[in-house]
């Protein structure tokens, strides 16, 4: 098992009551999609938001089948409302 940190933004931060949540998954399953599935189990309060969430690592948007390592933080980007 490996520990991954996920950054929460916008309404997700309020729902999760945390800016960063930690998730454990098998290192062999380490895709963005696998992290999101585990997050939904550990934090059901964000489950119905995940469909509209975009994912980023540092300043890059990544697809859900993107591989991720424990030294990378996944950021969850809910629908944006700037301006």
């Amino acid at each position: 098992m490996a520990t991954y940190e996920i950054e929460m933004y916008g309404v997700l931060r309020r729902l999760a009551e945390a800016g960063v949540v930690s998730i454990e998954i098998e290192a062999s399953q380490s895709t963005v999609q696998a992290l999101l599935e585990e997050l939904a189990l550990a934090h059901p309060e964000v489950y119905d938001r995940l469909e509209q969430v975009a994912c980023a690592i540092e300043d890059e948007l990544v697809a859900r089948d993107h591989s991720i390592t424990p030294d990378q933080r996944l950021a969850l980007i809910p629908p944006v409302s700037g301006g």
């Binding site: 975009a54 859900r64 089948d65 629908p79 409302s81 700037g82 301006g83």
Partner: protein
């Protein structure tokens, strides 16, 4: 610097973009409005994914120059706690002539609202606050077959 915790400074942006080749200046400013969807607003907190927001703002500036043939496009967004009437966002466009200056400024603010990871939390006179419904970012499509 595209994101700022301090008040946005329009004059500084005008000075930085001053250019004799340009005959047209268009500025868009967004300000915190007293009323939204029937609720009386007292303040807005803006937060961002700063690394991705900075990068996306730079990309929109560059894309505006290319799409509209304008000379300058600068975008700045305020973060933190804003009171009524404060500027949340500035778009400054300079171009040879006004049609492309207006089109580029309009496109830039519309695109900023669609693409830049910034969120507003509105605070209400009646109490409480809400994150507004936003625009989902277009997720990156898989690179895999």
């Amino acid at each position: 610097m595209h994101l700022s915790a301090e008040s946005l400074d329009l004059q500084a942006l005008l000075d930085k973009t001053a250019d004799d080749r340009c005959g047209a200046l268009v500025v868009f400013g967004g300000t915190v409005r007293l009323e939204n969807e029937g609720q009386q607003v007292t303040a807005i907190d803006y937060t961002a994914h700063t690394a991705l927001a900075e990068k996306t703002l730079r990309e929109i500036e560059a894309e505006a120059l290319e799409r509209f043939g304008i000379t300058h496009c600068r975008l700045q967004h305020r973060l933190g706690h804003l009171e009524l009437g404060e500027l949340s966002v500035l778009v400054v466009v300079r171009a040879g002539h006004r049609p492309e200056a207006f089109e580029a400024a309009r496109w830039a603010i519309d695109t900023l609202k669609e693409r830049v990871p910034i969120w507003k939390e509105e605070f209400y006179a009646a109490g409480g606050s809400e994150y507004l419904e936003g625009t989902p970012l277009q997720s990156k499509k898989s690179n895999r077959p």
